[in-house]
């Protein structure tokens, strides 16, 4: 017999049999997650492409809209998301060290910061509603000459920040799942792959906002 019983059973309990070892299994998961993130890059890329085209066609109208964005909330939310990326990475670190307490603490903090971001986004959307800045029959714009062009900008604003917020909501659900799994002792320093994967997702969503913030809130501020 080529294999003794000892060699057949002496492996990490989380290892699937089609992988050579846990490291290879882990790296495969990371690669798979990146492939998914590439589809997300392309998905958001379409919207960034649309923004690029219209901003080049109507630079003045787009620049005029920045002053109607709530810069205070936008900048604060950027800080909130950066903080949540820090807590996420510290949660992953806690998982690597096998510390359940650290892991759960930082996952809860990340979830909390995500909810703060979404709550402030609701405040902003409400402001847009009050100001009649939602594209459609009720749309009004302070600079009448840009009425039609500004609607395109606000449509892009809602499409891009809305899809971003949707990703945040999905992320909040995923974090909740992680917190439940962690409290049921599902993770260890040997196996914490879901924490790492959702961490990658969370950071990606952060990066999308890092680009949305200057494009929507900052450009044309001085005009």
């Amino acid at each position: 017999m080529a294999h003794s019983d000892a060699t057949l059973t002496a492996h990490s309990p989380g290892l699937r049999h089609h992988f050579d070892d846990s490291e290879q299994q882990f790296q495969s998961s990371i690669l798979g997650m990146w492939v998914f993130l590439l589809t997300e890059v392309m998905f958001f890329g379409g919207m960034f492409g649309g923004y690029t085209v219209y901003r080049n066609l109507y630079p003045d109208a787009f620049a005029s809209s920045s002053k109607f964005m709530n810069l205070g909330i936008g900048a604060f939310n950027t800080g909130v998301l950066i903080c949540s990326s820090l807590t996420m990475v510290l949660a992953v670190r806690g998982a690597q060290l096998g510390s359940k307490k650290t892991l759960i603490l930082f996952l809860v903090l990340t979830l909390f910061l995500g909810c703060v971001f979404l709550g402030l986004k609701v405040v902003e959307y409400h402001e847009k509603w009050v100001d009649h800045h939602i594209p459609g029959p009720g749309f009004r714009y302070e600079e009448a000459q840009y009425f039609h062009q500004a609607q395109i900008l606000f449509f892009l604003y809602f499409a891009m920040t809305g899809m971003h917020a949707m990703h945040m909501i999905v992320g909040a659900g995923l974090l909740t799942t992680l917190i439940v799994m962690a409290s049921r002792n599902r993770f260890s320093a040997q196996w914490y792959t879901p924490v790492e994967m959702i961490g990658l997702y969370w950071h990606f969503v952060d990066i999308v906002w890092i680009f949305l913030f200057p494009l929507l809130y900052l450009i044309g501020r001085t005009k």
Binding site: S12, D21, S22, E23, Q25, F26, Q27, I30, L31, W34, V35, L37, L38, V41, M42, G45, G46, F48, G49, T52, V53, N56, L57, L71, A75, T78, G79, I82, C83, S85, L86, M88, V89, L90, R93, Q96, L97, A189, Q190, W191, G199, L200, H203, F204, D206, I207, I210, F211, F213, P214, L215, L218, I219, G220, R221, T222
Partner: protein, 100 residues
């Protein structure tokens, strides 16, 4: 499978860098630099994105294959934007009737 753990200090430094860059980009947006406002804002965004990808997403220590995939995503994004812009920006350069 245990991984080399990155120190909290490294993460906090990256975090502080990101916060400082955010404050910078907000500050610069209040100064009128003409065309350079856009260039500065995007340069800062790219630096911030790179910091997140390299340190928080740990691509800096990832396998070559993962690095290739991560790079490919942003390279394809660049193709999308450059090709679209090369069309829209060059319209009207050639004489002839306006056709769009």
């Amino acid at each position: 499978m245990t991984h080399q753990v990155v120190s909290v200090k490294t993460y906090v430094l990256v975090f502080l860098g990101l916060i400082v860059l955010t404050a910078t980009t907000v500050g610069v947006s209040r100064i009128d630099l003409g065309e350079f406002n856009f260039i500065v804002a995007m340069t800062i965004a790219v630096i911030k994105g790179t910091l997140v990808v390299m340190f928080f997403m740990d691509v800096r220590r990832a396998t070559s294959l993962t690095k290739l995939f991560a790079g490919a995503g942003f390279f394809w994004m660049a193709i999308l934007l450059v090709f679209v812009l090369s069309d829209y920006l060059s319209r009207g350069w050639l004489p002839g009737p306006k056709w769009w």
